[in-house]
């Protein structure tokens, strides 16, 4: 009777939901239960937790997370079910009979209090020196249940070393409460499978394969586990002290670039409802903090579209017209460093399908330390570049040895949304009240195409807008209403879309040296796909491997995190489907208000091709600065 869900989680960990009756009103499709003496009618098979939530009765949870399968391990959600000998965990209890539930009996309160006390007895450290202070679910519960002393004592000595091996994710098992949310995130949500509970009973810890440091296993640094950790056991590798140092050093020219997703989500860190972009307020705040220049990552997102789009066209031309078997199609996007590392580990044989274009963050770093430094007459050694990203994997990406094409470390620090919010707070700034201001020249304006990189399907939409216009000569607005390519938007796991190309135009001047004409694209149906979250990426890869429908695609966008960048591992906590939807709305709303909405129309991009990258997209200089190569990592650990 269990719902057939596709995740590989063992049956015991799947949502404990009974198959709901097909009819909503028929006999047996609803059950009338009593919660705290009040009669409510709920659909057959609803869990007690859901029933209570829908009827505004608060039940504390800890191991339960909206994005994850049910575990029932923390027991904090226990309730009293009449006739049952013991208390029942409400998250795992499907309602199939007219039961009577009590949620606040003395026994329930005592049990919950004991559970909290027991967790605190093993929870090393003090709240005020914790990265999750004021945003910790354990702390919140302790307050909710009035913990004013440690009934079962409090651990005085640290039991574990903090694992600081990874550039992105830091694990402090002293703060772990064994809710296994990270395990379920890693195994079920992302299907990467780095973390599991090892040992037994009181010795249980969450660990990696052979207890190796995180940097030595197949972790892709996506940081989804951080977003779902209820305590401070998992957090990102925070570079803000070093950034403050650079800001305070008068000889350093500190530049910050901001990505679209942090701007759409940072409001949550300041007590606002999700769904407001604070792009221009953020500019002012960053200036007040002391950054010398503020640039928009969307500018290099536009550049990415030019480079990656050109690469795609060259790939297709070489594969389809020239018949070069060494050129691999479909082309995969390479903007998401989590996805890139996932591919390097799990599908190294497909590394040649990955676009060689760097991610926007890295392109910007390379440009700042070459083009910008020359333009402004600043020694690149004195420039410190910081990137505000929704992502913990970006921290790893900027440390990659191949990301030093400018002769220096292209991007010095990757800063997550949460860490930036902390810096802003530390500077005594309340972000939502800031006046608005613009980005700095010479990379001033960016297009809406770059902005929507923040949501899943965004890279594809941006690329399609340019490809459609450059190839067919038709305005995108004539094909899609208001240039919104709806089929690639939305949170469906894998989206597959076909675009027939009817009628071709002249090859634009910028691409003329590379491609003689568009005739070979006449009548071709462009097939593209979009996947977000590595679990979906895995499905796509398996489909391609087995020669399925997706192997015929020309271009596939992959994002490592569910929802794309806006659901990234560096974004404000908590996260769930609703919050991610709101963030997407904020991004798309901001985009619709822009006049410049296509990458190839960005005058600043055209300016840089006219004045710096003289040999055009995919030319020699752009290959040196804006493209990279990848490593076949494999997943075997010696």
């Amino acid at each position: 009777m269990l719902i057939n869900d596709e995740s590989r989680a063992p049956v015991s960990q799947k949502p404990n939901k009974l198959e709901l009756p097909a009819e909503k009103e028929g006999i047996g499709s609803n059950v009338t239960i009593e919660i705290n003496g009040e009669k409510v009618t709920v659909p057959f098979g609803t869990t007690i937790l859901e029933a209570c939530k829908n009827n505004n009765i608060h039940i504390p949870t800890l191991c339960h997370h909206d994005d994850l399968c049910i575990a029932g391990v923390c027991r904090i959600c226990v309730v009293d079910v009449e006739g049952m000998k013991t208390l029942q965990s409400s998250c795992t209890f499907p309602i199939t009979a007219p039961i009577k539930i009590k949620t606040t009996t003395p026994m329930v309160r005592k049990a919950r209090r004991h559970i909290i006390d027991l967790m605190l007895s093993e929870h090393f450290g003090e709240c005020y020196s914790c990265v999750r202070n004021n945003n910790c679910e354990l702390q919140k519960l302790a307050k909710e249940y009035g913990v004013d002393r440690y009934n079962f004592g409090h651990i005085q000595k640290s039991k574990y070393d903090v694992d600081k091996s990874s550039f992105s994710v830091i694990r402090d098992m002293d703060k772990c409460i064994l809710c296994k949310r990270c395990v379920r995130t890693c195994i079920d949500l992302q299907e990467v499978g780095v973390l599991e509970a090892v040992n037994r009973g009181i010795d249980t810890t969450i660990s990696t394969f052979l207890d190796k440091p995180l940097a030595d296993v197949v972790c892709i640094n996506c940081g989804q586990c951080i977003n779902r950790c209820p305590t401070g056991a998992l957090h990102a590798n925070d570079p803000s002290d070093k950034i403050w140092e650079a800001i305070d050093n008068p000889t350093k020219h500190v530049i910050i670039q901001t990505a679209p997703s942090p701007r759409a989500a940072i409001c949550e860190e300041f007590g606002m409802e999700p769904g407001t972009s604070l792009t221009r307020e953020l500019n002012t705040a960053l200036r007040r903090i002391g950054f010398d220049k503020i640039f928009d990552t969307n500018f290099t997102a536009d550049l990415t579209i030019m480079e990656e789009g050109t690469e795609l066209i060259l790939r297709l031309y070489n594969a389809l017209v020239e018949g070069n078997a060494e050129v691999k199609v479909p082309q995969f996007t390479s903007c998401s460093p989590g996805w890139v590392k996932y591919l390097e580990h799990f599908y190294p044989e497909f590394i040649d399908n990955l676009s060689s274009a760097k991610s926007p963050q890295q392109m910007f770093g390379a440009l700042i330390k070459t083009y910008y430094a020359k333009l402004q007459g600043i020694d690149p050694a004195d420039i410190v570049t910081v990137a505000v990203m929704p992502c913990s994997a970006k921290k790893f990406e900027c440390e990659r040895p191949e990301m030093r094409d400018s002769g220096f470390k292209d991007v010095d620090y990757g800063l997550t949304t949460r860490e930036l919010a902390q810096m802003i707070r530390e500077a005594g700034i309340h972000l939502p009240e800031m006046p608005k201001s613009d980005f700095d020249d010479p990379f001033g304006e960016a297009s809406g195409a770059g902005l929507i990189f923040g949501a899943t399907g965004g890279v594809m939409e941006a690329a399609l807008r340019s490809i459609i216009e450059l190839v067919t000569g038709n305005k995108v607005e004539n094909v899609f209403q208001n240039a919104k390519i709806i089929p690639v938007r939305g949170f469906e796991g894998i989206k597959y879309v076909e675009f027939p190309i009817e009628g071709v135009a002249e090859v634009p001047a910028i691409l003329k040296p590379l491609i003689p004409d568009w005739k070979w694209l006449e009548g071709v149906t462009l097939k593209v796909a979009v996947a977000h979250g590595t679990a979906n990426a895995k499905k796509v890869m398996e489909n391609i491997k087995s020669g399925g429908k997706l192997s015929e695609c020309h271009f596939i966008e992959f994002m490592g995190c569910p929802g794309g960048c806006l659901g990234g591992g560096g974004q404000p906590i908590p996260t769930n489907a609703k919050i991610r939807e709101k963030r997407a709305e904020a991004i798309y709303a901001e985009e619709e208000g822009l006049t410049l909405r296509k990458s190839h129309e960005n005058p600043y991009v055209n300016h840089i091709y006219a004045n710096f990258l003289l040999d055009g997209p995919c030319g020699e200089l752009s290959h040196k600065l804006l493209h990279t190569h990848y490593t076949k990592r494999g997943k075997f650990i010696d």
């Binding site: 590989r8 499978g193 599991e196 090892v198 052979l210």
Partner: protein, 157 residues
């Protein structure tokens, strides 16, 4: 570990999986099979099992770390596990303990130099009425006396 050794382990695991089915629920019998033959499940074997069952290596490691009869580090060819629970304790576990340590010249938790025997404790073997009890590999010995220890040890080759 050389290629030949790796290949033979892969072959062995493939055989076990054919026997028990290519499903994650076959994990335990497969692990037991490898453990029985090699007295431990090596890093390589763990990853091969994971690959062939299409699960993650860390899940295999997690299961091995959960069960005290499965090991990820090499042990002696034979394992003696002495029941350490209260009934056997009352029935003279200490004498057996001393006899084992004296005869083998090792402490509990250690392995003899010739890698033949590993000494370990076990929790209740369910032989409380016939204690003290110990288990050699998969065979249980009951009402053990120090004299019987020598017999048992002589019986292990």
């Amino acid at each position: 570990m050389d290629v030949l050794e790796k290949n033979s382990i892969t072959e062995e695991i493939t055989g076990l999986i054919e026997q028990f089915g290519r499903d994650r629920s076959s994990l335990l019998p497969v692990l037991q099979g490898v453990q029985r033959k090699h007295q431990h499940i090596s890093d390589f074997a763990q990853q091969e099992i994971a690959r062939l069952l299409d699960i993650h290596p860390v899940e295999v490691y997690s299961v091995i770390s959960f069960y005290s009869f499965l090991h990820s580090k090499p042990k002696g060819r034979n394992t003696i596990r002495l029941c350490k629970t209260i009934i056997c304790d009352l029935l003279g576990k200490n004498e057996i303990e001393e006899a084992l340590e004296r005869e083998l010249g090792i402490k509990f938790g250690e392995t003899t130099n010739d890698k033949n025997i590993t000494l370990e404790y076990a929790n209740c073997l369910g032989m409380c009425d016939q204690g003290p009890a110990l288990i050699v590999n998969e065979r249980v010995y009951t009402k053990v006396t120090p004299q019987k220890v020598i017999e048992i040890l002589n019986g292990i080759n």
